[in-house]
């Protein structure tokens, strides 16, 4: 075919997609540079796009990290992400293995019990009342247990298990391996790609989750970090705003950050972990979409 010259359409296409990418990235650039700016730099100009910091200080991050509940917030978020993902993978892969066996008695009934939950639920208040009756309100374990089993993820794992040839299990059995050994030493190692995919999926869900913390948790020191960020930036909570202003001192020094820089730093600290792992994990997610699309 040889090299084709760039047509008018190509030029338009490259330009359009470049603008598209820049508009996806700009909010991040804006936040980073806002979080690094000093109040003197910020207020010295009427207008700035924040393609670079106006002045430079890391004080906004220091101020944010010294605010109340920031450490407990990250503690809760990290706890639920780690414990929630591990527990969820153990419970789901076990059940997925059982459901992948055609000879399991009443297989159809059990599978249906899981499938129904993909299409119908009790809703907000019945779930809330259940948690209250279980005595799980204001308990961090609710954040771990609430999203533990997802029927859709479970079926994706099951489908993968079904694709593993039965002969592998049989030959392991002939070698004297028992049920447990076959599951942990044959099935799980072969299924690492799908388990890693679902695990990352659950981990990101946990890291981002906020609504369950908002409605089920009362104690400030048990909330996940997103709830505190929400209070600081979205609700513009008076107590948090006061704390933020007070931390800057009564006389604002030139090299100190402005309140909006601290809010930007707060958002950045929650995004940074995702930005760091993103390059490594995004192909897993893309693959996951495919697996899910092939057969739900």
């Amino acid at each position: 075919m040889g090299k084709q010259r760039l047509s008018l359409f190509d030029i338009f296409n490259y330009a359009a997609l470049t603008i598209f990418c820049l508009s996806i990235l700009y909010p991040f650039v804006y936040l980073i540079n806002m979080s690094l700016s000093t109040s003197a730099g910020l207020y010295s100009r009427d207008f700035a796009l924040f393609l670079w910091p106006e002045g430079f200080t890391l004080e906004a991050y220091r101020k944010f990290l010294s605010m109340n509940y920031v450490y407990s917030g990250y503690g809760s978020t990290i706890f639920r992400t780690v414990a929630g993902t591990v527990l969820s993978l153990i419970v789901m892969s076990g059940a997925a293995y059982a459901l992948s066996k055609k000879y399991l008695p009443h297989l159809k009934i059990y599978t249906t019990i899981f499938v129904i939950t993909m299409f119908f639920g009790g809703g907000l208040i019945p779930s809330y009342l259940l948690m209250r009756n279980l005595g799980l309100l204001d308990n961090v374990w609710i954040l771990v247990l609430g999203p533990m089993v997802n029927a859709f993820y479970l079926l994706i794992i099951r489908n993968f298990f079904m694709s593993i040839p039965e002969e592998l299990e049989e030959s392991a059995r002939l070698d004297g391996a028992g049920d447990i050994k076959i599951f942990t030493h044959v099935i799980i190692p072969l299924s690492l790609p799908v388990i890693a995919t679902i695990g990352l999926w659950q981990a990101v869900n946990h890291w981002n989750a906020w609504f369950d913390s908002l409605i089920y948790i009362n104690s400030m020191d048990k909330h996940v970090i997103s709830v505190h960020i929400r209070r600081l930036v979205i609700e513009q909570n008076a107590a948090m705003n006061d704390q933020l202003i007070n931390s800057l001192g009564s006389v604002q020094k030139k090299d100190m950050p402005a309140p909006e820089s601290i809010r930007a730093a707060a958002i950045m600290v929650t995004i940074i972990p995702i930005l760091c792992v993103y390059p490594f994990i995004q192909r897993f997610f893309v693959r996951g979409v495919m697996v899910g699309a092939v057969k739900g």
Binding site: K101, F119, E260
Partner: protein, 303 residues
């Protein structure tokens, strides 16, 4: 009969041990709330519990459909917001996939895709926070630009004429790249010979796009569209909840946000559950119909 089943349960006890935790979870966390739905037909009182609370039949539904609760407004907003997202985000994802497909440089293609997926991994608390900062009337960059050109400050999130545009724009920003994955995959499965013979016949790039690429992914588009219609009552709780306020309720209040306020802010548990039940019930019927249509078209739908 029964003893045979019992024996097979004994035989496969290991499998049942593996199944049990997830099964117990489902029954407690998913099926118990389904039983709790009964309070939509009762006057729920916490001291009496779900079962002992008195039955009131459809009273809460009457109250819900009554003009005083603005039910038509909530339902209209839900459908309008979903519909707008279907046109712009769903349609946009298809256009984006077609554009990305036309890029010949593999590196540029890959970078564009990787950037476009990124916002999908952020929660609406974070996206909402970013928007609060950027759209702020006092120091947000968007209003600074408007002022620079001599315009008036716009209270984007408190202005009912602007609110829906912001909802749609932020939904596009978050989801368009992720939505395009499935179409790019479908496009990559098209037989390259089709393009080669089209070129021999003298078809240009635009002609190839409309005569080969689009028809080849029409099936996938149809399936995705039908499924999207099936979930039309999900207008995006997380997004609206983090961006709306009472000034824009007229255009922003949807079924889910109303159920939240009625239940957890006003303590009207039964009314809130009636809203959820209406939404989940109608949603279920829509999904079943959507799936039936997809199957009729000769494709395997969700099951």
């Amino acid at each position: 009969m029964g003893s045979v089943t019992w024996k097979s349960y004994v035989k496969y006890k290991f499998l049942f041990l593996l199944l049990l935790p997830a099964l117990a979870y489902m029954i407690i966390f998913n099926y118990a709330p389904m039983y709790g739905v009964l309070i939509a037909f009762k006057d729920y009182s916490f001291t009496k519990g779900v079962w002992a609370s008195p039955w009131v039949g459809f009273e809460h539904f009457h109250q819900l459909f009554n003009a005083s609760t603005n039910f038509t407004r909530i339902l209209r907003n839900t459908v309008v917001i979903s519909g707008l997202k279907m046109i712009f985000t769903f349609g946009g994802a298809i256009v984006l996939a077609l554009f990305i497909n036309e890029i010949r440089s593999t590196a540029f293609k890959r970078i564009t895709q990787n950037i476009s997926y990124l916002p999908h991994f952020l929660s609406w608390v974070i996206i909402g926070s970013i928007m609060m900062e950027m759209l702020s009337p006092s120091n947000g960059v968007v209003n600074k630009i408007i002022e620079l050109f001599g315009g008036q400050t716009i209270y984007f999130l408190a202005d009912k004429y602007w609110f829906l545009s912001i909802i749609v724009a932020s939904d596009i920003w978050q989801s368009i790249g992720w939505g395009s994955i499935i179409y790019l995959a479908a496009i990559s499965g098209i037989d390259p010979q089709l393009y080669d013979s089209a070129k021999i016949d003298g078809a240009g790039r635009a002609r190839q796009m409309f005569s080969i690429t689009l028809p080849s992914i029409a099936n996938v588009i149809a399936i995705m569209l039908i499924l999207q219609v099936g979930s039309i009552l999900n207008a995006g709780f997380d997004q609206i909840f983090n961006l709306y306020n009472f000034k824009v309720f007229e255009v922003a209040d949807i079924l889910d946000t109303y159920a939240y306020r009625a239940g957890l802010e006003q303590g009207n548990y039964s009314l809130s559950t009636a809203v959820s039940l209406f939404k989940n019930g109608v949603g279920l019927v829509l999904v079943l119909i959507a799936n039936k249509i997809v199957n009729r078209m000769g494709h395997t739908g969700l099951w």
